[in-house]
Each structure stands twice: as C-alpha cells, then as structure tokens.
C-alpha cells in the first residue's frame, strides 16, 4: 500500500461558491504525521483557510484540529502535522523553514480525517490539495 506518497485529495480545479470544499474522508493508515500542500494556482478575492478535520467514530461528526490560518496568494502553502515540529529549532537564531509553511500542528493525525477549505467569499479560486502521510 503506497500510503507514504503524495495523494491528491482535492484535484486542481476552479472552486466557486461559498464553500467550504471538503475532501473525501482520508485514513491515516498508521501515519504519525501529515504533510499537506494547498497549491493555489489562481487566487480569488478575500481568503482561504485550510482545516484538518478529524471524524469521530460514534456519530461521524467532524471536529477541527487546527486554528484557521488564512491565505490570499497564488503560491504553494504547506501545513505539517505531527510531533517534534519546530519552525525555529532550539539553537537556531531564526526560522529554518520557508514562510510558505503556514502552520505546524503538533498532534497525531486522527484516524479518519478530511481537508476542508473554507472560503472568505464566493469568488473563483483555482487550487488543489495533496496529502503525504509521514511514517
């Protein structure tokens, strides 16, 4: 099972309307972390926010795991979930990873989760989302 390779969870496409746009449910498959890329090809107006939502097994409701960080520009934006994460590791004077890493979320991935993209308005955005499971 090739679970550690990038998987496209939302294809590169034009997304209009109010949103949110939700990926299909994903399984962690033993992963201890996630590497998520939101590739914005064409920005709309206002903002997008990427949410990593767990799905609890009793009623199937989704719960948000990360606080919203909004993006506005047409570049690659990254979210990393897992343990031992640091933008500025001890001993380093400043961040050692690029600012396109929007957020580090230092908890284990939920067993079942989805990526939800919240939109600030109904304008068209062109984007896609990939997920890499980290062993």
């Amino acid at each position: 099972m090739q679970v550690y390779e990038d998987q496209i969870v939302l294809p590169l496409a034009t997304y209009g309307g109010a949103g949110p746009i939700n990926s299909p449910d994903q399984r962690a498959f033993g992963a201890s972390g996630l590497y998520i890329v939101l590739h914005v090809k064409t920005a709309g107006t206002t903002t997008l926010a990427l949410r990593i939502e767990g799905k609890e097994p009793f009623e199937g409701t989704y719960y948000q795991t990360n606080v919203d960080v909004t993006v506005t520009t047409a570049v690659r934006h990254m979210w990393i979930m897992g343990k031992d994460l640091a933008k500025t590791p001890p001993g380093e004077a400043a961040a050692t990873i690029q600012s396109a890493v929007r957020q580090l979320v230092a908890i284990p991935p939920p067993d079942t989760f989805r990526i939800s993209i919240a939109k600030g308005d109904t304008s068209d955005w062109v984007f896609g989302v990939t997920v890499r499971r980290v062993p």
């Binding site: 962690a28 033993g30 062993p135």
Partner: protein, 138 residues
C-alpha cells in the same frame, strides 16, 4: 505493524457509545512500540454535573492504578480530544500562538506507560451519552 485496516495503529473504541449513569473505563492498553495516542471523547448528550476525562496507568507490582494527567472536566456535549505522547505541543517552536483548535483540550507531553487506559469519571448519577476512542501512534 503499520498501514492497512485493522492494524495496531487504527482507531479503537475504548468505551462504546452508550448512556451511562456511572463512570466508565476502557480496557487496559499495552503500549508496546507505540509512543503516543490521540484520544477522542464524543459526548452526544450531557446530563447534570460533569464528567472527567483522564488517563490512568497501572503499575505491575501491586496492580495499583494511578492517574497520569490532569483531569479535563466536561460539562456540555461536543468532541474533546487529547494528544498523548512526547513531542506534541499546542504551540510548536517558532509559532506565534497555539496552532491547535479548542477541540484539542489537552496535550499530555510524556511517553505513555506500559499499561494505561482512558477513564471517565462522573460527578453525579445523571445520564450522559458518550463514547471514547483511542488511536495509537508510533
């Protein structure tokens, strides 16, 4: 054991969804090679008083049970999540503020003991409907 459905790292129901008037504990979990867990409590309906969400260890000499974490007190329906294991944190180094949502009610930043379980305490005899699941992580 890694990947696939039905493995050690898949989510396991510890306390089945049900209506409870007294405290409930999950079965004992052997940590083995795992280094942490994601614990999820789903409260479908709340009674009066509160329930407490806690992690208990068991020592092998006299099988005594000890509480490992600080109890989280729950008074309303919703989803409550604890991250358990060394290396997890609300605010990773270099982040300006907490990056986890309020649904993540606690980070217990130590390695799990050899034997542990999730225990739900209750403050009174009112009926609460809830369930508890655990996903182990390497």
């Amino acid at each position: 054991m890694r990947g696939g459905v039905g493995g050690r790292y898949d989510e396991q129901i510890q306390v089945a969804r049900g209506v409870y008037t007294s405290g409930q504990s999950g079965p004992w979990i052997r940590s083995g090679p795992t280094n942490g867990a994601l614990l999820v409590v789903r409260v479908v309906s709340a009674g009066t008083g509160n329930i407490t969400f806690r992690i208990q260890g068991r020592e092998p000499l006299e099988q005594t049970i000890y509480q490992l974490d600080q109890s989280v007190t729950i008074t309303t329906a919703g989803t409550y999540v604890k991250a358990f294991g060394s290396g997890y944190k609300m605010q990773p180094q270099g982040e300006a503020a907490d990056t986890t949502h309020a649904n993540i009610v606690q980070i217990v930043g130590v390695h799990p003991p050899d034997e542990w379980r999730v225990s739900m305490g209750k403050s009174d005899a009112s009926a609460w409907e809830f369930g508890v699941s655990v996903r182990l992580v390497n």
